[in-house]
């Protein structure tokens, strides 16, 4: 048991150490404020602002779109169609199956759909494909917490004459902390996944100005630079990894802080 704990803690330490030690050398102000200049991929000046912005756009966009899809679904099986056990079971099974599908399959699926509709790689296609991937994550995590809300809470709102929608809002309020955890989980997956965006969002050196332009992402920035034989470019891949880790860390900490504040009324 001690050994397992050490292995887990040790690997986290090693990961952080690797990206820190190799990335910190290439991490400078230019990295996060500039887009790639000419010859960036052979070690010349510029930064990866394009990938940072692209990743943030895609992850925020897909989390918002994902919430818009998963919240109604979760409320439907928990507050509206409670008596329909069959429907709820099927829906949960579907979420579980979707949850287990690897992200490259979502990427391939997104790509097929794009080709079918004659779309090019774009921010929009990236957001939609990543949304498909994170909807089951959001839905499963939120379903777990909303199911945990005590029965008597809904009894109380219903007996005050509340409608199912008004009761749903109370259920969401009661589950704020859990929903935030779900969002953080989904955000982490969305911002860190390379396979879904590879074919759908594409890659570009400029910052997208509309939903129809392709967008670069941090995981792909890591991937492309790491494949380079040039040492300086490889180090930049670690710097990109460090930036990605820092973004996820900031979002998690902010989420924890707001989660505490938002759920102060929880019973």
């Amino acid at each position: 048991m001690v050994l397992s704990t050490l292995i887990i803690a040790g690997s986290l330490g090693m990961i952080l150490w690797t990206i820190m030690s190799r990335g910190i050398r290439s991490l400078n102000w230019d990295m996060i404020t500039k887009i790639p200049g000419g010859g960036f991929y052979i070690g010349k000046g510029g930064g990866i602002l394009n990938a940072i912005v692209g990743s943030v756009y895609i992850s925020i966009g897909s989390v918002l779109l994902g919430l818009a899809i998963s919240i109604p679904a979760v409320l439907y099986i928990n507050a509206y169609a409670r008596r329909n056990a069959w429907l709820a079971n099927i829906t949960r099974l579907v979420f579980d199956v979707l949850f287990g599908i690897p992200s490259i399959v979502y990427g391939a699926f997104g790509f097929t759909v794009m080709v079918y509709f004659g779309l090019k790689t774009s921010l929009l296609a990236g957001i939609i494909t990543v949304t498909l991937m994170i909807v089951p994550i959001l839905a499963r995590a939120m379903d777990e917490v909303i199911r945990l809300a005590p029965e008597e809470l809904s009894d109380a709102t219903y007996s005050l004459g509340a409608t199912r929608w008004e009761t749903s809002k109370i259920l969401l309020r009661q589950s704020t902390a859990g929903i935030l955890t779900a969002i953080l989980l989904a955000f982490g997956r969305a911002i860190g996944d390379a396979a879904t965006v590879l074919f759908t969002a594409g890659y570009t050196d400029s910052i997208p100005t509309s939903l129809h332009q392709p967008a670069a992402t941090l995981p792909l920035a890591i991937f492309f630079q790491l494949s380079s034989p040039i040492d300086a470019v490889q180090n930049r891949a670690y710097a990109a990894a460090l930036i990605l880790t820092i973004i996820v860390l900031i979002v998690s900490l902010a989420g924890k802080y707001f989660g505490k504040r938002l759920s102060r009324h929880k019973i």
Partner: protein, 253 residues
């Protein structure tokens, strides 16, 4: 009994997961006063209470047949407006469950969902119902604090105030003092005695002394059937049925 019934149950049968929980229940609950359901645990008293505001049929595998008339209207009829019907009945559960919001918002919740928006009006309602449940002096300085920080006894009084704020006619209590300490229990009981002239109270209790202290009428249920129904004195002191006698004396519980 010669009194106009407020709730009239006619031939009610309830099956849950195929088990016959309530068997052909018919009873008239008079207007105003306190009617208590007593009986051993598992006899169906809570189930019966929950058929009155149709909370029971939210659950799966529940089959209900028969009629429950409230003010002469069958609440299991086709055109029943559930929210309006439930608004008529406040509910106190075994453990208090304040809504996940502030003390103020807990009271204002009901009036708000039914269309009261004005701040002055809401302020007035909140104060009125907090005073009615003797909470005002205890919480007036922390109205916007979380309701979950109140003591459990205060929470139960808050839940009562919250229920009263939607102006119900009937108050349903499902062993509302079972989680409370003796002092809080006494305060809730005092409140019930004050409320019984204005509202019809239906309580489920397994405490015979509480039933004696509070009730005008008592219904004794056993294994899903009504064994005896009468005034508190009749049922507790001069029970007609052998089962009631044994329960009241403590032979069965």
């Amino acid at each position: 009994m010669g009194i106009i019934p407020h709730i009239s149950v006619q031939g009610l049968n309830v099956h849950i997961n195929g088990n016959h929980i309530l068997k052909n229940i018919s009873i008239d609950i008079p207007d105003k006063g306190i009617t208590s359901f007593i009986g051993p645990s598992g006899c169906g008293k809570t189930t019966l209470l929950k058929t009155f505001n149709r909370l029971l049929d939210r659950n799966k595998n529940v089959q209900i047949s028969g009629q429950v008339l409230v003010d002469g209207e069958n609440i299991y009829g086709k055109h029943v407006e559930l929210t309006t019907m439930r608004k008529k009945m406040g509910l106190l559960s075994q453990r208090p469950f304040p809504l996940p919001m502030s003390i103020y918002d807990n009271i204002a919740y009901g009036p708000r969902i039914h269309g009261t928006r004005g701040k002055k009006e809401l302020d007035g309602l909140v104060e009125h119902y907090l005073r009615a449940t003797y909470l005002w002096e205890e919480v007036k300085d922390r109205l916007h604090h979380s309701a979950s920080r109140l003591s459990i006894g205060q929470q139960q009084r808050l839940c009562l105030a919250r229920g009263l704020a939607v102006e119900p006619e009937i108050i349903l209590g499902d062993e509302p003092t079972s989680a409370l300490d003796p002092v809080s229990t006494q305060r809730i009981e005092e409140l019930f005695l004050q409320l019984k002239d204005k509202y019809t109270l239906v309580l489920v209790t397994h405490i015979l002394r509480q039933a004696r202290r509070l009730s005008n009428n008592i219904v004794f249920l056993y294994m899903g059937e009504i064994i005896e129904f009468g005034t508190a004195e009749e049922v507790l002191l001069h029970p007609k049925e052998r089962l009631t006698r044994e329960y009241v004396k403590g032979y069965i519980s």
